[in-house]
Symmetry: C2
Subunit: 131 residues, 2 copies
DNA sequence: CGCTTCTTGGCAATGATTGTCAACATCGAA
DNA sequence: TTCGATGTTGACAATCATTGCCAAGAAGCG
């Protein structure tokens, strides 16, 4: 993989800005199309690079669709949190669950696991898409 | 995709048997190699078919590595449960968390989501691999 | 045993993601 | 502001898991 882009470029701004305006998880390919539609075209490879750089920097969250495609979304906080995602429109809500955090750490410790992390995502159909 | 295999064949048995003997999540490719090593060679395409059929039948659980590769594991019960997985050796422990189930349903309901599902996996390093 | 139907497996096709590299833009220095 | 070293871009090729395809082989039934 190429080095993570750090310089201020039009492409970097375009990707970050788009992510901040859109309110659900989007794939790199979708972001690429959206940018093209807006006229602020950015190469697909470049979209991948920025989206991954932002993910590593903790500024966007990544999760995977059932088919394995990676989807990204800008999140309000760098804090650890989870998502409630609409499986139709991709819209999502950030949620926190202190109790869950504690529970996972507990369970892991009980089984002698260290360096524990976890993933938790909730999928459903939102009010809009249900009608 | 082809129809799910239902007939009793050597290949079907080999895949199911291997999954029952191995105690961690394995990718289709790994299973394919393991079978080859055992002499009970099965075509890669066929491994994919059986592993997916078993997953649909609820007899194996599927999850995704960070790189998006799908990994499979035979599970003791058809009940809903989660996993504590060693990120080094793939060994895993089935865990249940009734409190978590309730919490996710709650959160989803509060936000007007219906048809709710969730994924929760815990990753860590197991005692063996830590040393 | 013979037939019908399902299963197998090698290979091509797909689709997301990553590697490559020449052309181009940025930013600090002069 | 201009120059140059260095970071970025993007078209294209390459990778890799997974799926589609289809002729040859096996299972189950009579």
């Amino acid at each position: 993989m190429s080095p993570a882009p750090a310089r201020a470029t039009r492409q970097r701004a375009a990707v970050a800005d788009l992510l901040s305006r859109v309110d659900g998880f989007r794939s790199a390919q979708e972001l690429h199309e959206l940018l093209r539609d807006e006229g602020a075209s950015v190469g697909l490879t470049t979209v991948y690079r920025h989206v991954q750089a932002l993910a590593e920097a903790g500024q966007v969250d990544v999760l995977r669709h059932e088919d394995g495609e990676a989807v990204y979304r800008a999140c309000g906080t760098g804090e650890h949190h989870h998502h409630l995602v609409c499986r139709d429109c991709g819209r999502s809500v950030e949620v926190e669950g202190p109790a869950v955090e504690a529970w996972t750490d507990d369970v892991a410790a009980q089984h002698g696991f260290i360096d524990v992390q976890h993933t938790l995502e909730i999928f459903g159909t939102c009010r809009n898409c249900a009608s």
